[in-house]
Symmetry: C2
Subunit: 171 residues, 2 copies
DNA sequence: ACCCTGTTCTTGAAAGTTGAACTAAGTGGG
DNA sequence: CCCACTTAGTTCAACTTTCAAGAACAGGGT
């Protein structure tokens, strides 16, 4: 459905207004700077990128500190392939281990190890502090509320099925 | 300066409140979904990732459609290393070429080729449309203004020099 | 039991990214 | 002019991500 609007065949493109451009640039600017910042912070203090850290967090909050691979992939918004590689790396670190799923022989659980939990306990304070300094300490309470609302709306519009019905692949 | 708050030596960590956690999750959720979405959109329609597309945009808006490597890296918020690789790839595509800087023999200009400009002209409408659908079409004008304000504040707090004076390396 | 289709997860290769080391060229004393 | 120091950009190796297969199992029908 983008096809019709794309490239040569399309009708008049709806360009961004000046203000929209400014907002879009600020958005790109802020989000990339923050993601880079957190990636470096965690690489330095926890020895892993932000996404990997997020996987450990997910596991730490799951019922028995374990989760099916596919569910973890969905919750972390990454592909199963990426998750496979990531878990392999975390496993090599001793922070996660794999476990066969009893009910489904295809299935695997990723399980947070005690050691992995320790890493989280040690590094979480520094990470929260970094997030605070970058976001919550700089925004008014109203802005925090607004941001929450805005991000929620955007996220809703981007759930898997939206962009086209021709994307049966997970995520 | 994170050291003192990190891990074992620190004082009471300032955890996020429930609402802050919700906002933070929404933020991560929305930003990663959008970035993935745009990456796929551009990979499909323009044959390059979002960042590379951004480089072409930068060049197209620069005075003679060219820019010094370092300046381009700063403007695009990426490392010089990453830029080197990216330009090498874009050069292979024929969309950019390198040019020795006349005034500084160390310097290089990245120059947008006519072909590169053509790619931009063909793919920009589809990209703008994707951005609109994901963001501007879903937000009220007030929310757009709020988002702009918020992102500006966050970006200011993340400029290179903030995190510590002990980071002489570019970004 | 058998086949068919869809799901779960992994793998391998190519592409992209990172951080550090490196080359070459400008800069500013002494 | 020479030295040390900085800056511009590239390169290398290690790591991460993506995309396209592929192996193994599940859940129906038939």
């Amino acid at each position: 459905m983008n096809r019709a609007l794309n490239g040569e065949g399309g009708q008049e493109p709806r360009w961004l207004s000046d203000e929209e451009q400014r907002v879009w640039r600020s958005y790109l600017h802020a989000t990339t700077l923050l993601e880079d910042h957190l990636d470096r912070q965690l690489q330095r203090d926890a020895g892993m990128p932000h996404i990997y850290y997020g996987l450990l967090v997910q596991l730490s909050q799951a019922p028995r500190r374990r989760k099916r691979m596919t569910q973890l992939a969905i919750d972390a918004k990454i592909t199963r392939s990426r998750l496979s590689h990531a878990i392999a790396r975390l496993e090599k670190n001793g922070w996660v281990r794999r476990e066969d799923c009893p009910s489904d022989k295809r299935g695997q659980n990723a399980v947070l190890t005690e050691e992995g939990f320790g890493v989280l306990r040690r590094t979480a304070p520094g990470h929260v502090e970094a997030v605070r300094q970058a976001m919550f300490d700089r925004l008014t309470p109203e802005q925090v509320a607004q941001l929450g609302e805005i991000m929620q709306v955007m996220a809703e519009g981007l759930q898997p099925q939206d962009t086209g019905a021709d994307l049966p692949w997970l995520r």
